[in-house]
């Protein structure tokens, strides 16, 4: 298991110092109610939204203010205890699991610190829920663009850690394209400001380095985000196809026109059926092989023109029907089906693994056919619901975890799918992050030297590797880096 490598992280002895005395010191900072130390109170914190991994923290602490976070991190630094930052626990990579270390919950920091509608930015605490931010700035005709499917529950801090994406990132970009500045507490307890809002940022792009660091570089105390104007018009289309190929071809045809849809999502038959039997039934045709959910937005002038172009392309590529949402209610319903698809898989089987590979868009038809083959060979149920516009696949495999044989087949199928995506020129994760779940796949796409360079970056922020230990980069990669001859000054000195 990947998590066993936690034990080989530098500060092993720390685990033993997570004791009642530490709990008391933390309670003095945050209040007794906000420190959980009894195992029965920690059970719910043993998993995130990927319920294939369970790791129990030794202790969980929930600071309620910026100053409490600072004091907690400094206390942990003083006694050398590793910790894992956690937002809402809606991640899909096991990234927020604390294996015998301290869990620092940031869900209580829910303050929108300031909004600057004129310059279209806002500063928030890390625990602000994604959709709550958009709600808070809605009165100004603005919103926060990255919209992960979990946006009703996930936090901006978690989004920053994971560099979260979402359906509308095709046009508007992912989290890193929307973060202007960060106030960060490093695991050492030092507070630094990365980026800035009062003019151009130049020099090292430390915001870029921090976003997507999966909690390994420290904790964001305040996050300044770019806000986006609400589009003047939005049109949502649902096109259904009798073959996956035809749907994939349509995706390429649309993108080639220069029209950038706000979102371009594909939903396969298995997913359609799961969604349609849930409370989020969106009226997707259950006999279709695949459906495309296409959203166009922007200024009203010219929007209709684009809608016609897209509709024509859908039909030319074999769409059976093209439905255009008439009003906001219908539009919301079409989207609910997509956004809640993952949860709806709970209806298929009791357990679920979700992948997040990205392949070049032109490889979609080929890759989807191969995934189908893998699922048949291994007799597993694969559902595909994904961001087709940017080639970000989400093969979901629903299975019964109490069945050891099925679980083993799921594992084989997962690895085969990942390998074929990588072989197609893709990557192992587009928006969920590496966490624990994909750490074993990192070596499929990165050389030891590349992984070592990542370790180097991590150690700039967290030299003791105490923040979220054992995630993202396999620990042995870091060793190799230190053994590489060029890294040893004595060896390279003439």
């Amino acid at each position: 298991m990947a998590a066993t490598s936690v034990a080989s992280a530098p500060s092993v002895s720390a685990t033993s110092s997570i004791d009642q005395a530490l709990a008391d010191r933390l309670a003095a900072i945050v209040g007794a109610r906000r420190v959980l130390f009894r195992p029965s109170e920690l059970l719910t914190y043993t998993a995130d939204a990927l319920p294939s991994y369970f790791k129990q923290p030794a202790l969980a602490v929930f600071p309620g203010t910026r100053d409490e976070v600072v004091a907690v991190v400094r206390e942990l630094a003083a006694c050398g205890v590793p910790f894992v930052p956690r937002g809402a626990g809606t991640g899909l990579s096991g990234g927020a699991l604390a294996d015998g270390v301290v869990l620092v919950g940031l869900n209580r920091l829910t303050r929108v610190i300031s909004v600057d509608p004129d310059n279209m930015m806002a500063t928030v605490e890390p625990g602000v829920v994604n959709v709550a931010l958009s709600r808070a700035v809605g009165a100004y005709g603005l919103h926060y663009a990255p919209d992960p499917s979990s946006q009703a529950a996930c936090t901006i801090g978690g989004n920053v850690a994971e560099n979260a994406g979402g359906p509308h990132c095709l046009k508007y970009g992912v989290t890193t394209n929307h973060i202007l500045a960060l106030e960060v507490i490093l695991p050492s307890g030092e507070i630094v400001t990365l980026g800035g809002t009062d003019g151009e940022n130049e020099g090292y792009d430390l915001v870029g380095a921090f976003v997507g660091s999966e909690g390994c570089f420290g904790i964001a105390l305040a996050i300044t985000v770019r806000l986006s104007r609400n589009p003047e018009g939005v049109r949502t289309l649902l096109a259904d196809f009798m073959s996956i190929d035809a749907a994939a071809q349509t995706v390429s045809a649309i993108v080639a026109t220069g029209i950038i849809p706000a979102a371009l999502e594909m939903i396969d038959q298995a997913t359609i059926r799961a969604v349609e039997s849930s409370i989020y039934a969106a009226g997707y045709p259950t006999d279709a092989a695949a459906a495309l959910l296409i959203e166009l937005d922007g200024a009203i002038a010219g929007l209709e023109h684009d809608v016609e172009t897209v509709e024509t392309l859908c039909r030319a590529n074999g769409a059976r029907t093209v439905r255009i949402a008439r009003d906001e209610v219908e539009r919301t319903r079409l989207w609910q089906g997509r956004k809640k698809a993952f949860g709806a898989m709970g209806r298929v089987s009791s357990h679920l693994v979700v992948q997040d590979a990205v392949v070049p868009r032109t490889k979609l038809p080929e890759v989807l056919a191969q995934i189908h083959r893998v699922s048949q060979q291994n007799r597993v149920k694969v559902c595909n619901v994904f961001h087709a516009g940017d080639g970000n696949l989400h093969p979901n495999i629903a299975y019964d975890a109490s069945d050891a044989d099925e679980t083993a087949r799921v594992h084989v199928a997962m690895r085969e799918i990942m390998t074929l995506c990588v072989d197609a020129g893709g990557t192992i994760t587009g928006e969920h992050g590496v966490g624990l779940d994909k750490i074993a796949y990192m070596e499929l796409i990165f050389s030891p030297e590349s992984l070592a360079a990542m370790c180097t970056l991590r150690e700039v922020f967290d030299p003791e590797r105490r923040s979220n230990p054992g995630k993202v980069v396999p620990v042995h990669s870091c060793r190799e880096w230190h053994m590489s001859p060029a890294a040893r000054p004595s060896a390279s000195l003439a």
Binding site: N119, G199, Y204, C216, G425, T427, G430, E449, A453, S492
Partner: protein
């Protein structure tokens, strides 16, 4: 100064390792068209990646392109144009500049208002660190969160942590209609504010909007009056509506799209160039500050990017100008200052960009021997 030219990533690694052995710092260059950019580098040897050129992979359907770092922007423009696609980067200078240098310096032009800077368009990088390791980050797909983001770390690091050898960038399909429109404006701070307010209100984002001072408009458009220069794109209906919405600013006049090329190349090669910036809502104030700074310098040119809150100042280099601007810059800055190019003695008025705790640690970690472009961003701690 001796220069070596590179032919492969492995060759690049060997050169860096060799420099490490000899303890010789290197000035990393691309096409060499912009050699006076950045602070003076303390090196005697130069390493050019110009030879490391050529498009490695380009699948138009994916709207991504992978090229070696020495590939010129012109070559990329030419190849992608065949498929009605483009790389939406227009750094100042010309298309002779290399992809690697553009990314390393995070250079951007007017298109940045709509498409962002290189950090928003680069998908993956291959680079050789100061310790002689060849590493890759990111990938060739448009969305990727695998591993820590070394791609963004290296973008804009001015080659101080690693030398770029290859990059994958995101392309865009060319719009149906792409028009360039000039609107004459007063050119005072109030007109800058009005332009910015209009942009903030519009339901669309123009591909570009630059306000040019009178002298710069003369050089670019042959009209001696301040103008707001717009680039409007999309389908025909959309562009018609966009153009109509500019009426409140003034009468839109069609001009050649060559204006953008001229704007990029407007400055003399030995010019003093720097930028001032603060919040976009303060663009009028920033513009006023720029006007005061360059007051009395013959041939001074100014242009502003209202949506980004930036004013760029171009001053033809001469002894009197240098003395004058030197004392003007000595006054405490009200806006953030970013230097592009200038003689060494003026640099003290610009903040040391590498001088932060983390900046110092990064340099120490990736280039512990200080081999790569030492001093170009300032001194590390």
């Amino acid at each position: 100064m001796t220069t070596s030219s590179i032919s492969s990533a492995a060759h690049l690694r060997d050169c860096i390792r060799d420099a490490s052995v000899r303890g010789t710092p290197l000035r990393i260059t691309g096409a060499g068209t912009w050699l006076d950019a950045g602070r003076p580098v303390r090196s005697v040897e130069s390493l050019s990646i110009q030879g490391l050129s050529g498009i490695v992979d380009y699948v138009p359907g994916d709207l991504t392109l992978t090229a070696r770092a020495g590939t010129t922007l012109g070559e990329i423009r030419h190849e992608t144009g065949k498929h009605n696609q483009w790389l939406a980067l227009d750094p100042h200078g010309s298309d002779k500049g290399t992809l690697g240098a553009t990314i390393a310096t995070a250079s951007a032009g007017p298109l940045a208002s709509a498409f962002g800077t290189p950090r928003d368009l680069v998908l993956g990088l291959e680079f050789v660190t100061g310790t002689g390791s060849i590493a890759r980050a990111g990938g060739r797909v448009v969305k990727n969160v695998a591993g820590f983001d070394l791609t963004r770390l290296m973008t804009g690091a001015w080659g101080t942590l690693a030398v770029l050898s290859e990059a994958t960038v995101r392309l865009h399909a060319c719009p149906q209609v792409d028009e360039t429109i000039a609107v004459a404006i007063a050119g005072d701070s109030e007109s800058l504010d009005r332009t910015r307010q209009l942009l903030r209100r519009l339901a669309f984002t123009p591909y570009a909007c630059e306000v040019l001072s009178g002298p710069l408009a003369m050089s670019v458009l042959g009209r001696d009056e301040p103008v707001a220069l717009f680039r409007l794109a999309g389908n025909i209906e959309s562009v018609t509506a966009q153009r109509a919405s500019l009426l409140e600013l003034g009468q839109p006049v069609d001009v050649s799209s060559e204006a953008w090329t001229s704007l990029r190349a407007a400055e003399p090669t030995d010019a003093i160039v720097f930028r001032l910036s603060r919040h976009p809502s303060e663009i009028g104030t920033t513009w006023d500050e720029a006007v005061r700074l360059v007051d009395g310098a013959p041939g001074a040119l100014l242009h502003a990017t209202p949506a980004r809150g930036i004013v760029r100042c171009i001053l033809p280099s001469s002894e009197p100008t240098m003395a004058r601007i030197g004392s003007a810059l000595a006054a405490p800055p009200q806006s953030k200052r970013v230097g592009e190019r200038m003689p060494e003695r003026l640099w003290s008025a610009f903040p040391n960009r590498a001088n932060s705790e983390i900046g110092g640690r990064l340099k120490q970690a990736f280039d512990p021997r200080g081999l790569l472009n030492p001093g170009i961003l300032g001194n590390t701690v």
